[in-house]
């Protein structure tokens, strides 16, 4: 079965060509009427994937002897998967049915299973008897198919998995990663550091394996190209098509974007390229609903949905103040929250826009840097050779001159604060004057810098409840600790903060051992996760390089192996395309273990 893709393609082409002439007697009713290009295939595809007969009636079958099933439950793809390569669940193993496997001999000796032909396939589907006359597993449904339907399905199975996967040659497998022009340069660096290291290590591994020989033909050299986009987003699609035409790739691993990713998403879906976990905080609207693009989460939209659900859970009137940056994921999140709350009559929304500016950002960086130095936890630098200081030393750590975080400076650097009158909606007429609405503040910027934006509101911390977006803090424990406000909750779609620390130690050991310089840890972690999932899935793919099968394997390996620091709840499932479906609401005061998990 170890065909190079090209020979496999030839084989199946031959098989397809033969179908018209030497096809099963059963399909004789159907095939002669069909033109040479065989439009029987869509009918077969409908049957295989959706369980709908050409007549539009749902497919019916009997399973376990006496249980009737129909429609999607009876469709082949439910168990044998879209690629036809079968699946494993618990102790159940579903054999592959893709044409090149089904219509070929498997095994040897006592385990020999002769090749199926079209008559044997008909017998298996109708009577549940395999090609050697043995009964099939009771879980394999017995179908009542007419000969035309059977013909369509057989033709589909012959073609299934027969196309050679683009980007795979006998010696190498090509991947790409995509960088959009609005991506954060620091994040970009973090991503490419990890990607380069991983691909370099992979090359060493593959060389080692090729030396010993046994499985060398299942391993290919991993080649990575970086597709850097430029110009306005309307031109990205054309740029991607051009790059893809020049060098086809098997899959897109990681990638980084700013607030716009939809053109890339659409490109991957149209070209049917698996796109694994790009680092985007503003996911396209169809994220999670399409087949080929896998995301870490819906990003800020997920946070906004969680906050909206929390606000909506209390029917009392509320006044929501959003502290919004002028650009970036925070702005997108604020927009999503405003949209989500717009339908609620008794919620008034006020947006306070702050301009953090370059200097403010620097202050935050200095602040983070200070904490980092205090913890002395950065590998890679000469300092990390020193042992970790004791708690006592950490407490009395002296910041280097001029590097001490300056809170006053932070406040001073938020000069522009204005009420966004366009976003303000008057409270609904029904809201009684006597009831003072709940005051809720949502921070879409680092709150240490944005607090002065609330000047003019009553009181020092003018809220009954506050939410802080964790994405704009990059989920960094130091930044989270620095932004603890009274009566506030962190909206955190990552590993719960109290577990994050020890998981980060693992990541840092990985990075350190391979000499990767320190960078944005969340980006590094997510990129490493994308690489690991790709590697694991490809390993299981063995010689059957197929994109659909690859995605099924990613679902499989991503469902029960924890390999990431920021994402400890890996929970892909069949056809699921988002890693995180909910987020933690972590109270700033008290124990992080009291956090609640919400799935909006």
């Amino acid at each position: 079965m170890s065909h190079a893709p090209s020979s496999r393609a030839k084989r199946t082409a031959r098989a397809l060509a033969l179908i018209a002439a030497a096809l099963i007697p059963l399909a004789i009713v159907a095939s002669p009427r069909l033109p040479a290009d065989s439009p029987a295939r869509p009918a077969g595809e409908e049957l295989y994937r959706r369980g709908v007969l050409p007549s539009g009636v749902p497919l019916r079958a009997t399973v376990l002897g006496d249980v009737p099933i129909e429609g999607t439950s009876a469709a082949c793809t439910t168990c044998h998967q879209r690629s036809g390569m079968g699946s494993v669940e618990g102790r159940l193993w579903v054999p592959p049915v893709a044409g090149r496997v089904l219509f070929a001999t498997r095994g040897s000796g006592q385990r020999l299973r002769p090749a199926y032909d079209d008559v044997a396939l008909a017998r298996a589907l109708r009577d549940g008897v395999d090609v050697a006359g043995r009964p099939l597993d009771p879980l394999m449904p017995r179908y009542d198919l007419g000969s035309a339907e059977l013909g369509a399905l057989t033709a589909y199975l012959h073609g299934l998995g027969s196309e050679a996967a683009p980007g795979v040659t006998a010696s190498e497998i090509r991947f790409a990663t995509i960088v959009t022009p609005d991506a954060d340069p620091a994040g970009r660096r973090a991503m490419s550091d990890v990607l380069e290291t991983f691909f370099r290590n992979k090359a060493v591994q593959v060389r080692a394996i090729a030396k010993f020989g046994t499985y060398h033909d299942t391993f290919r050299r991993w080649v990575l190209s970086t597709w850097e986009l430029s110009g306005p987003s309307s031109t990205w699609r054309a740029q991607l098509e051009e790059r893809y035409a020049k060098e086809p790739v098997f899959a897109i691993v990681s990638g980084i974007g700013g607030t716009e990713w939809t053109p890339v998403h659409d490109f991957c879906e149209t070209r049917r390229i698996p796109c694994l976990l790009p680092n985007v905080d503003v996911a396209p609207a169809s994220a999670g609903k399409s087949y080929y693009s896998l995301y870490v989460s819906r990003g800020v939209a997920l946070e906004a949905a969680a906050v909206a659900a929390e606000i909506a859970s209390d029917p009392a009137p509320a006044r929501v103040i959003q502290v919004v940056p002028t650009c970036g994921p925070g702005l997108a999140g604020a927009d999503a929250l405003r949209t989500a709350l717009a339908v609620r009559k008794n919620v008034e929304i006020v947006n306070k826009i702050v301009v953090p500016g370059v200097l403010a950002r620097k202050t935050l960086a200095a602040h983070k840097d200070g904490l980092r130095r205090a913890m002395n936890a950065r590998p890679g630098s000469g300092r990390s050779r020193k042992p970790m200081p004791t708690r006592r030393a950490r407490k009395h750590h002296r910041f280097p001159a001029g590097r001490r975080p300056d809170r006053r400076q932070g406040v001073a650097l938020v000069p522009l604060t204005k009420n966004d009158s366009l976003c303000r909606r008057p409270a609904a007429a029904g809201a009684s004057v006597s009831v003072r609405p709940r005051r809720i503040v949502v921070f879409w910027t680092p709150p240490t810098l944005a607090r002065s934006a609330l000047e003019g509101e009553e009181g020092e911390d003018p809220w009954d409840r506050a939410f802080v977006s964790s994405t704009v803090l990059d989920g960094e424990p130091a930044a989270i600790a620095a932004s603890a406000l009274p009566r506030s909750e962190l909206v955190h779609p990552f590993t719960r903060p109290d577990e994050l620390g020890r998981r980060l130690a693992n990541l840092e050991i990985w990075l350190h051992a391979r000499g990767v310089p320190a960078g944005l840890r969340r980006i590094q972690d997510q990129t490493l996760l994308a690489c690991t999932l790709t590697g694991d899935a490809l390993m299981h793919e063995f010689r059957d390089f197929d994109r659909d099968y690859f995605l099924e394997l990613v679902d499989h390996v991503g469902s029960n192996q924890t390999v990431s620091a920021f994402h400890s709840r890996l929970s892909f499932g069949p056809g699921q395309r988002l890693l995180e479906k909910g987020c933690w609401l972590v109270p700033a005061e008290g124990d992080a273990r009291a956090a609640r998990w919400v799935t909006p």
Binding site: T78, C79, V88, R111, A132, P379, M388, H512, V563, S571
Partner: protein
């Protein structure tokens, strides 16, 4: 068991058989699980003999299992690749010595197992003493920083000493020394904290309690299952008596194996991966060409097993398909007969079949069937929100009296645990049905793909019991 995918598609001609040990060790160091599988196949018997000679025949299996996992973990530290068998033997011998010592101490407290009572009292739930967690945390926090750090890294994260030493910039022996002193609860001569709970921490050498290590026992069970498979697939099939009932041997044994060997498993993310892959290794050993005709047709194994068990239904809040928050004990009100199963909506293979079977069972029972409450609990609560459940219920035209439940992941996990249905991953999910008569707290656990008529018979049984109880 993801790694199985690769193994079942293996061709017979692909074999590591020709390679010498040292070649395999080099491959295994590079993360090649198949190579390690071959090493295991070659030297397992030797390790078993060594372990049996020290710790006795009945403990040898567990010891070797532990030793194999340890050796895989420590493989990068093996200097001379050609001495792998000797090295593995040493690990097994030391492991066996330790087990023999610990078992000797435990033997005084042991009570003989009453076979007769098993039918009623076997609980499939994992017993984990969560109350020890705070104590352990507290004890750890009392140890001085450097010691605590090494302990945490080594035992909870499974980081080898060499890596810790490199990371902390200390020598290898310092790292080991700190670990040793930290475990003993010693303090350096600085007087800064009260006396730590030394003896308790010493138990770390047997591994921390569940929960700290971010790894479910189910993974381990899987590893055990497949290792048993390697030794003789027959043992996985419980014995059947004349009535077709199955003695609950499997659960009992699984539980025991579990509780003892769980302790030394690696703590880290990498560890999880390792366990999953180790689980697949022995499969390779016995079926190098798994994807052959014989696997298509298993020799008609018994389709399901039936065990009576007791379940402490946890009082957690869950959400039904209409978005109502309800309390689980209320849903499983003991005044009516109930059937419970676990599923998830996006599942291929078994869940749709299980749901269809339940649907057919209800049809078969007809009017009677309405008095049996059917409760389907999702194991994927993040994905299966109440809207998803509603659509799913509609897809199987589930009528009144059939509730689909989701909830907070922690709550659902506790329910799974109480029913002994935890899986460690969606893809390891098994077909499980639970029946309970009215006014009773003993459940009939049906594992495997029983047909609709089998389930209907079971349901009639619990209804009859309900009538008799009145």
């Amino acid at each position: 068991m993801a790694a199985r995918l690769a193994t079942v598609r293996r061709e017979p001609e692909d074999d590591y058989g020709q390679l010498a040990d040292d070649g395999l060790v080099v491959l295994a160091k590079d993360g090649d699980h198949e190579a390690f599988g071959e090493l295991v196949r070659r030297h397992r018997r030797m390790a078993l003999r060594t372990a049996a000679s020290v710790a006795g025949q009945d403990r040898a299996e567990d010891v070797v299992q532990d030793a194999l996992i340890l050796s895989f973990q420590a493989l990068p530290t093996l200097q001379d690749s050609r001495r792998f068998p000797q090295w593995l033997g040493t690990i097994a011998r030391f492991r066996a010595l330790r087990v023999a010592r610990v078992e000797g101490r435990r033997a005084n407290r042991r009570v003989p197992f009453d076979e007769a009572r098993v039918e009623e009292t076997v609980s499939c739930a994992e017993e984990v003493d969560e109350t020890e967690l705070p104590r352990l945390e507290a004890a750890l926090s009392r140890i001085p920083g450097p010691f605590e750090q090494v302990l945490r890294l080594h035992f909870f994260e499974g980081v080898p000493h060499q890596v810790i030493a490199e990371r902390l910039g200390v020598s290898l022996s310092t790292s080991k020394w700190r670990c040793f002193r930290g475990k003993r609860g010693d303090r350096p001569r600085v007087r800064q904290r009260p006396r730590p709970a030394g003896p308790f921490l010493h138990e770390l050498s047997r591994g921390p309690p569940e929960g700290l290590c971010g790894r479910g026992p189910a993974n381990f069970r899987r590893a055990c299952d497949s290792l048993e498979l390697a030794e003789g697939a027959g043992r996985l099939e419980p014995d059947r008596d004349a009535a077709g009932h199955v003695a609950p041997v499997e659960d009992r044994k699984g539980g025991q194996v579990n509780s003892r060997s769980r302790s030394i498993l690696p703590r880290s993310a990498g560890g999880l991966l390792l366990v999953a892959s180790l689980a697949a290794l022995p499969l390779l050993a016995i079926k190098p060409s798994g994807a052959t005709g014989a696997t298509d047709q298993p020799p008609a194994p018994p389709r399901f097993s039936r065990v009576v068990t007791r379940v402490d239904v946890p009082s957690v809040a869950v959400v039904d398909q209409d978005g109502r928050t309800v309390s689980l004990p209320e849903v499983l009100d003991s005044r009516e007969p109930v059937v419970v199963n676990f599923f998830f909506a996006s599942c291929g293979s078994i869940c749709p079949v299980m749901t269809a079977t339940l649907s057919r069972m209800r049809e078969e029972l007809g009017r009677q069937g309405r008095s049996v409450k059917t409760v389907s609990i999702t194991i994927d609560p993040d994905q299966d929100t109440s809207d998803v459940l509603k659509a799913y219920a509609k897809r199987f035209s589930a009528g009144p009296g059939w509730t689909f439940l989701t909830g907070e992941p922690a709550a659902i996990a506790s329910v799974q645990k109480a029913f002994g249905a935890e899986t460690g991953g969606k893809f390891n999910h098994r077909a499980l049905f639970f029946f309970r008569a009215a006014r009773s707290d003993s459940w009939v656990r049906v594992e495997g793909l029983a047909g609709a008529s089998d389930l209907a018979a079971e349901a009639r049984g619990v209804m009859a019991a309900a009538v008799a109880g009145r």
